[in-house]
C-alpha cells in the first residue's frame, strides 16, 4: 500500500478508464492516517471500505466508524476530502456506512506490525464469535515481548484502547482492544 512519500501519480490525469481512476483514488485515500494513531492509515485499519463514481460523476468514498462515538471520523472525512481534492478530484463525497460493522479482524497484518513498532499492542488473534472480545488472556508487551502482563484500565486514552502494564519491563502500554 502506498505511503505518504510514494503516492503514485498516473502518467496522465485524469486516467482514461474508470478502474484506473478508482485505483488512483484509492491509493490517495489510503494515505490518510488515523489522527489518533498516526502510524496507521485508514486502509490499515479497515476504515476505508470502498470507492465508486456516483451517477453525477462525483467520487464517492465509503468509510466505516470503528466505535460509534469515535471522534476521529470527522477528522478523517475532512482529510479525505482534502487529500483527494489536492490529487485532482474536484467533487468528492464521503459517505459513512454502518454495515457490516467494523471489527479489528479487518486490521491488516502490516497495520498490526506498525502498531507494535509504535508501542501499542495489536489486537490479539482473531477468534470466532463473541468470545473474541474478551478472549485476550495473553497480551504481549510491545516493548520487551513478555506475555507476563496485566490490565490496568479497561478504558484507555481513546475508545479503541485499554491500558496494560508489563510485569517484566514494568512499562505501561496501550493495548488495541478486540472489537
Amino acid at each position: 500500500m502506498a505511503g505518504r512519500e510514494s503516492q503514485p501519480m498516473p502518467a496522465s490525469f485524469p486516467p482514461a478508464d474508470t478502474d484506473a481512476l478508482l485505483a488512483h483514488a484509492r491509493a490517495v485515500a489510503a494515505t490518510v492516517s488515523d489522527p489518533e494513531i498516526p502510524v496507521l492509515s485508514i486502509d490499515d485499519l479497515g476504515v476505508l471500505r470502498d470507492l465508486k463514481i456516483a451517477e453525477d460523476g462525483a467520487l464517492e468514498v465509503f468509510i466505516t466508524p470503528t466505535y460509534s462515538g469515535c471522534p476521529a471520523m470527522n477528522m478523517i472525512t475532512l482529510e479525505l476530502e482534502l487529500a483527494l481534492e489536492k490529487a485532482g478530484f474536484d467533487r468528492v463525497k464521503v459517505t459513512t456506512v454502518l454495515s457490516p460493522a467494523w471489527t479489528t479482524d479487518w486490521m491488516t497484518e502490516d497495520g498490526k506490525r506498525k502498531l507494535k513498532e509504535y508501542g501499542i499492542a495489536p489486537p490479539s488473534e482473531k477468534r470466532a464469535g463473541r468470545g473474541a472480545l474478551f478472549g485476550a488472556d495473553e497480551v504481549q508487551c510491545p516493548r520487551c515481548g513478555s506475555v507476563r502482563t496485566n490490565r490496568l484500565a479497561e478504558f484507555g486514552s481513546t475508545s479503541c484502547k485499554a491500558l496494560w502494564q508489563c510485569q517484566d519491563c514494568r512499562e505501561p502500554f496501550d493495548y488495541f482492544k478486540c472489537h
Binding site: Y67, S68, A101, F134, E154, F155
Partner: protein
C-alpha cells in the same frame, strides 16, 4: 429563530427515538463525571462509556430523521425537543448520586442494552441491525466494567457495601420500565423489526443476579415499578439536565463549532 419541534412519531420514528434518547441522556449523565471521578482511570472509563452512548445516539437520531422524512438532523432532535418530547427510560435520567449509584445505574442499563442489541442484530430493519452490531460490542464492555465495580464495592468495605446496596434499592423500581412495550412496539415486533423485550427479562434477571450474588448483594423482588418515560412523563431530573444540555443552542440557535 428555531423553536421546539413536534415530531411526527410514526411507530418506527418513535421506536428509534426511544432508544436514541436512552443513549443520549445516559451518555450526558456519564459525561457529568468528566474531571470528577474518584480516580484517573475511572474518569476515562466514564467518559469513554459516555462517548459510546452519544455515538449510538447520533446514529439513531440520524436514522429517526430519515424515517420521519422531514429533513431533521440529530441536533434537531437533541436540542429542540422539550422534556415532554423526550422518550427515554426514567432510569437513565436519574441523578448520578455517588459513584456507587452511577455504577449501579450503568450496570442495570448495560445488562439490558447488551441483550437487546444482540437480539436486534437480527432485525429486519437493516439500519437498526447495523447500529445493533456496533452497539452490542460496546455494551459488552460496559457490562464487564460495571460488573467488576459492583462486585468490588459490594464485597468491599462496610461503607462501600452500604452505598452500592442503597443504590440497588433506590434504582430497582426503575427497572420494570426496561421491559415495557406499547401497542406500536408490539406491531414492530410482529413485523420483525423490534425485539420482544419481555423475552429478555428472565435472562436479564439471571445475568444481574449472578453478579449481585458475587457482590454479596440481595437481588430485590419486583414490586411497584416507576414508569412514564416512554410517553414523555418524566421525573423532575430530566428538565434540569435538558436545560443545561440545550442551553447554548437555545441562547444562540444554530451555533456550530
Amino acid at each position: 429563530m428555531a423553536k421546539t419541534i413536534r415530531v411526527n412519531e410514526t411507530p418506527l420514528v418513535l421506536y428509534t427515538l426511544r432508544r436514541a434518547d436512552d443513549a443520549l441522556i445516559l451518555g450526558h449523565r456519564l459525561s457529568e463525571w468528566c474531571g470528577h471521578a474518584p480516580m484517573m482511570e475511572e474518569d476515562m472509563a466514564l467518559a469513554n462509556m459516555a462517548l459510546d452512548l452519544i455515538g449510538q445516539a447520533r446514529s439513531l437520531y440520524t436514522y429517526a430523521g430519515e424515517a420521519e422524512g422531514e429533513g431533521r438532523t440529530e441536533d434537531d432532535f437533541a436540542y429542540w425537543r422539550d422534556e415532554r418530547g423526550y422518550r427515554n427510560l426514567l432510569l437513565v435520567e436519574q441523578q448520578n448520586g455517588d459513584f456507587a449509584r452511577t455504577i449501579m445505574r450503568q450496570f442495570l442499563y448495560a445488562n439490558l442494552a447488551d441483550l437487546y442489541w444482540r437480539a436486534m442484530m437480527k432485525s429486519e430493519d437493516e439500519t437498526l441491525a447495523a447500529i445493533a452490531a456496533k452497539s452490542e460490542k460496546e455494551m459488552a464492555y460496559h457490562v464487564r466494567h460495571t460488573a467488576e465495580w459492583v462486585i468490588r464495592l459490594g464485597d468491599g468495605t462496610t461503607e462501600s457495601h452500604a452505598r452500592i446496596a442503597a443504590a440497588l434499592d433506590e434504582l430497582w423500581p426503575y427497572t420494570g420500565e426496561l421491559f415495557e412495550m406499547d401497542a406500536s412496539e408490539k406491531a414492530l415486533v410482529d413485523a420483525g423489526i423490534a425485539v420482544d423485550l419481555g423475552s429478555l427479562r428472565d435472562q436479564w434477571r439471571a445475568n444481574v443476579k449472578a453478579v449481585l450474588d458475587e457482590a454479596t448483594l440481595t437481588t430485590p423482588e419486583d414490586g411497584w415499578m416507576q414508569k412514564g418515560g416512554r410517553t414523555g412523563i418524566h421525573s423532575e431530573h430530566l428538565g434540569h439536565l435538558l436545560s443545561e444540555m440545550q442551553h447554548v443552542q437555545h441562547t444562540i440557535p444554530g451555533a456550530v463549532w
